[in-house]
């Protein structure tokens, strides 16, 4: 590393200490700082959402009234949904790791529209502020805002939909920024074939953000107008049709689950080769699978509405199309596992999270098949089986993916290392807590326990008790993970610039990187996953 200019007190100048003061952070257009600010915001909302989850689980601990009445319960599970989805997981990996790493991975100084990036973060904070007001307005419609019921609870829904509208707009602008950056800001030599898989998944989810989010924007705007001016579009009494609301809502809400999960798959595709010292297996297959999922995800929104009064023909068609989505996901899992074949696998924390991701995502994917099949979905729809399925997909998939990324790129972001033993213990605690919480819910779903129930028949009680206890263990696991990382940000011991010996482009510059990322725009000549290329058979190495 060429010598870097030092700050006044002799420390190496980097993006953290090149400007001081809160104002320099808020007004910063540096993608790395914006990424960190996003990280702080979404993790704090993750904690708030988690508290609501614990309140819900505490109430469900026993049959009948345990802590509070049904009206509070409805508010808590709604806020758990709204905060976790709109404020934490939709920005999630793209806004934090994506913002921080995209320019570094493609060898650029910053995203193409840095001021738009800063405006997007302000827009996100503005939406979050409105959502914060909605917390105190007894919003009890569920995060899906289904039409006839959300028309009665007017002002809370108006606030929440306005918040979701601005958060959606921020998501669109992030997607736009990433799409143009990937197209036009790649360093010389960084062809489409050498793009890291994390960048490919950001590209696929950027397409989804751009094409799907406006539909939810207009749907929530119509719901807002329905509540204020009563335009009658979703109000059955005025001739409107709630099933149309469901169509428009799920047209966005299925692609959004791919916006959540694709970047997590990208993170895992980056981690497994590094810790197995082996090139990723089937790079092209993974790329086609990512972009394929982005394309196919627009065909399948109907499987959320199998029992919602759609015509029978539509149900058959949507069930048939949903299986097209299952295949690319299966292919990805096979590729990850085959990457580990004959590798040199080190059991560091990021690798533990990546392996946990593969295991949990297998469960999420296969239970998705139960819900895609028409015969069984008539029984499973809107039961705890669905709750367990999407928690395995979002929490087991996207959140574990986010933590895998945080642990893997922690040295790159802060130049320090977290405590390895505590991190591993926290991983185990989290893994047990998570599985303990949601495997009983699969069984509850099989037994026919509907979701969003404040009170339940007595025979479901033992499983709810197990699930509630493990929910608190799960929360303790999260506290440990976040505590460990937060402590390491300030007190973690300094570490070398590429502790895991990754060949990817972002590790070639200093950690934490300088303000302009690279001293001189790099010329990329090798493939990012060329582990063991030096003694590969002549001509076989991929450039």
């Amino acid at each position: 590393m060429s010598a870097h200019a030092a700050t006044a007190d002799g420390k190496q100048l980097n993006y953290l200490n090149c400007e001081k003061g809160l104002w320099s952070w808020i007004m910063s257009i540096d993608h790395k700082r914006i990424g960190l600010m996003y990280l702080a915001s979404i993790l704090s909302f993750f904690v708030v959402g988690g508290v609501f989850a614990l309140l819900v689980r505490a109430e469900l601990f026993s049959h009948g009234k345990t802590l509070y009445g049904p009206d509070d319960y409805n508010v808590f599970f709604t806020l758990h949904g709204v905060i976790m989805i709109f404020l934490f997981i939709v920005p999630g990996i793209p806004a934090t790791l994506g913002n921080f790493l995209l320019p570094l991975m493609i060898g650029a100084k910053d995203v193409i529209f840095p001021r738009l990036n800063r405006f997007t973060y302000w827009l996100y904070l503005f939406g979050a502020a409105i959502a914060f007001c909605a917390i105190f307005m007894r919003l009890d419609t569920g995060w899906t805002f289904y039409a006839p019921y959300s028309i009665q609870n007017r002002w809370a829904v108006v606030t929440a939909t306005a918040a979701a509208f601005f958060l959606g707009f921020a998501s669109i602008l992030t997607g736009l920024n990433f799409l143009v950056t990937i197209h036009n800001m790649r360093a010389p030599g960084m062809t489409w074939g050498r793009l890291p898989l994390f960048v490919w998944t950001l590209y696929a989810s950027a397409i989804l953000q751009i094409v799907a989010t406006p539909v939810i924007g207009i749907t929530l705007l119509l719901l807002l107008l329905e509540n204020t001016m009563g335009i009658g579009i979703f109000n059955p009494a005025a001739g409107g049709d709630p099933v149309l609301f469901e169509h428009l809502f799920w047209f966005y809400s299925h692609p959004v689950v791919y916006i959540m999960i694709l970047p997590a798959m990208g993170v895992v595709s980056e981690i497994i080769p590094v810790f197995s010292k082996k090139p990723i297996f089937g790079y092209k297959a993974l790329v086609y699978a990512s972009v394929g999922i982005a394309a196919v995800s627009f065909l399948v929104w109907g499987h959320h509405m199998f029992v919602a009064g759609m015509s029978n023909l539509s149900r058959y068609i949507f069930s048939f199309l949903t299986f097209f989505v299952a295949v690319p996901t299966a292919v990805k899992v096979f590729n990850w596992v085959s990457t580990m074949y004959k590798g040199s696998i080190s059991w560091d924390t990021p690798m533990l999270y990546a392996m946990a991701f593969v295991f949990l995502f297998l469960i999420a994917g296969t239970t998705g098949v139960h819900l895609a099949t028409l015969g069984t979905d008539a029984h499973y729809h809107d039961t705890y089986f669905v709750v367990a399925h999407f928690h395995y997909t979002i929490q087991g998939g996207a959140v574990i993916g986010l933590f895998a990324g945080l642990h893997f790129w922690f040295p790159k972001m802060f130049g320090r290392m977290y405590n390895e033993k505590v991190a591993k213990f926290a991983w185990l605690f989290l893994f047990i807590g998570f599985n303990g919480t949601f495997i009983p819910q699969f069984i509850l779903g099989m037994e026919g326990m509907p979701r969003r129930y404040y009170d339940y028949p007595i025979e479901f009680e033992p499983l709810h008790r197990i699930s509630s206890i493990f929910a608190f263990i799960n929360a303790a696991g999260y506290a440990m993970v976040l505590g460990n990382l937060f402590y390491a940000v300030f007190k973690g011991k300094k570490c070398e610039e590429n502790p895991f010996h990754s060949l990817s482009l972002e590790w070639t510059t200093a950690s934490p990187p300088i303000h302009d990322n690279f001293v001189q725009i790099p010329r990329v000549t090798t493939w990012t996953y060329g582990y063991g290329a030096e003694h590969a058979a002549e001509g076989e190495a991929v450039h």
């Binding site: 062809t191 009494a237 149309l244 047209f251 015509s311």
Partner: protein
């Protein structure tokens, strides 16, 4: 996936234009073409209004809708191709214009298709819910009920006001 090292157009301090971005600034279009396209647009507007007075028939006013949409699409194409310079843009921009049209067709097909093939069933004997709903009906639902019962208030201003 390009494997070989292509030569790049070197600009300033090493950041380069990638191969699929068009080099050089936008395309200068002769003003005469703008005037031509503008008159064509005005003519098409007059045509679409003129055609609207004839009922060409077809279930659900399908033919009227088809003709109106055809003319509108031609106008939109003129504006997009010549006023927005799409005619001289790179392949990527064409992709960005065409791709949303497929997605729009998808959502209309999925939604309208579902509503049009839905089985209509009616109870063979009385249903309490229907009476309750009809008591609170307003707007379009109320007019449907009145139309079935033939008590539709005939609109006095059938011809629409003209001021």
């Amino acid at each position: 996936m390009g494997h070989s090292d292509k030569e790049w157009k070197r600009l300033g301090d090493g950041s380069l234009i990638t191969e699929d971005a068009q080099v050089g600034l936008g395309h200068i279009v002769p003003v005469k073409l703008y005037n031509l396209v503008f008159t064509a647009l005005l003519m098409l507007t007059i045509v679409t209004v003129w055609v609207a007075q004839y009922d060409i028939g077809g279930g659900h006013g399908a033919m009227n809708l088809a003709v109106a949409m055809l003319i509108a699409t031609i106008k939109a194409a003129l504006v997009t191709l010549y006023f927005m310079h799409l005619n001289w843009e790179s392949k990527i921009t064409w992709g960005i214009v065409i791709y949303p049209l497929f997605i729009f067709a998808l959502i209309v097909a999925g939604t309208l298709g579902d509503f049009s093939v839905k089985e209509r069933i009616t109870p063979s004997f009385g249903h309490a819910a229907t009476e309750a709903m009809e008591k609170v009906a307003t707007g379009a639902y109320k007019r449907n009920i009145q139309r079935e019962q033939g008590t539709l208030p005939d609109e006095s201003h059938h011809g629409g006001e003209h001021h």
